[in-house]
Symmetry: C2
Subunit: 210 residues, 2 copies
Amino acid sequence: MTAYDYIRDGNAIYERSFAIIRAEADLSRFSPPEADVAIRMIHACGDIEAARQFVFGTGFVDAARAALAAGAPIFCDAEMVARGVTRARLPAENEVICTLRDPRTAEIAASIGNTRSAAALDLWGERMAGAVVAVGNAPTALFYLLEKLRDGAPKPAAIIGMPVGFVGAAESKDALAENSYGVPFAIVRGRLGGSAMTAACLNALARPGL
Amino acid sequence: MTAYDYIRDGNAIYERSFAIIRAEADLSRFSPPEADVAIRMIHACGDIEAARQFVFGTGFVDAARAALAAGAPIFCDAEMVARGVTRARLPAENEVICTLRDPRTAEIAASIGNTRSAAALDLWGERMAGAVVAVGNAPTALFYLLEKLRDGAPKPAAIIGMPVGFVGAAESKDALAENSYGVPFAIVRGRLGGSAMTAACLNALARPGL
């Protein structure tokens, strides 16, 4: 009879995980609040080395936390990002919105000549003002967000730019870091990123600690 | 006026991404169907080197594909995994089930002295026979699955064991690979894994190609 030896207490697993990450990861580039966010992002991807690619723009953590505390909605590019947000952590029962599956998205995509992920942003409208925007999947959504900001769209309070992949991901995040149109941002440079890391970032911003 | 130069066509992005992965990743250990699954998993995490940790047990791809074609349900440990399955790819409108948020889960967790992620498996019952089981988040769910199989629970057709993290993740996947109780399996060794990679594995099994 095989016996499996493992920790069965959720909080104990979290605490031990975060302790391992603090012991192994180089977090010296980050402020304490940034380090807390970084730890949860590392936890989501299982890769200590990923921290080398994290960039928190000036004022990002404070701006995102203030917006969430004030009840700002969270706009996500992907259903997986939205699903990964732990509702109980949110400070003001903030709305978590993903418009990718809205029936209008396909038609908008055809009319603007872009992906559905990008087209979904056109449904955010004026509510983008002061919101927290989280792009965790599609580089096209992040590029299109930058185009909209360039053209005068309402400014979010903070932008999480963490699309993953091999085509456009690195370039879209570099573009955000180079000119975020005055909006505080966080990115993961290069190919890494994704819905889990993005949701982890949101969950860390929503509430500090476990 | 900043101009952003990027590919705006979804299928072109997929094709180019997969071509880059084929060019950069060492897929020589895999059969052609395993390589197709591996490519989609690499695509989900943005990390070519992750492929070194992929292990496909004997008969895994065939067993999972046959089960899905025959209409088997997919049981997931996490909402993000379930949400990441592209419904349109499924060959038989297969059910995608996650019982983590079932109101009974907390009580079961208390009674078995384990996490809610593990307790959720107790709601799968006889339907686990012949199903595709995907564990992409919680090592405790994978350990508990092994305990249930050891104790005579109905056998799934295939097990995707890809929890991520620092406490128990590597150990739970090693345990599955060492003795899967006769069930074909796939794992990502070590700390890597997660909901995106797991959903990508399911999406590749559901339908070959783009």
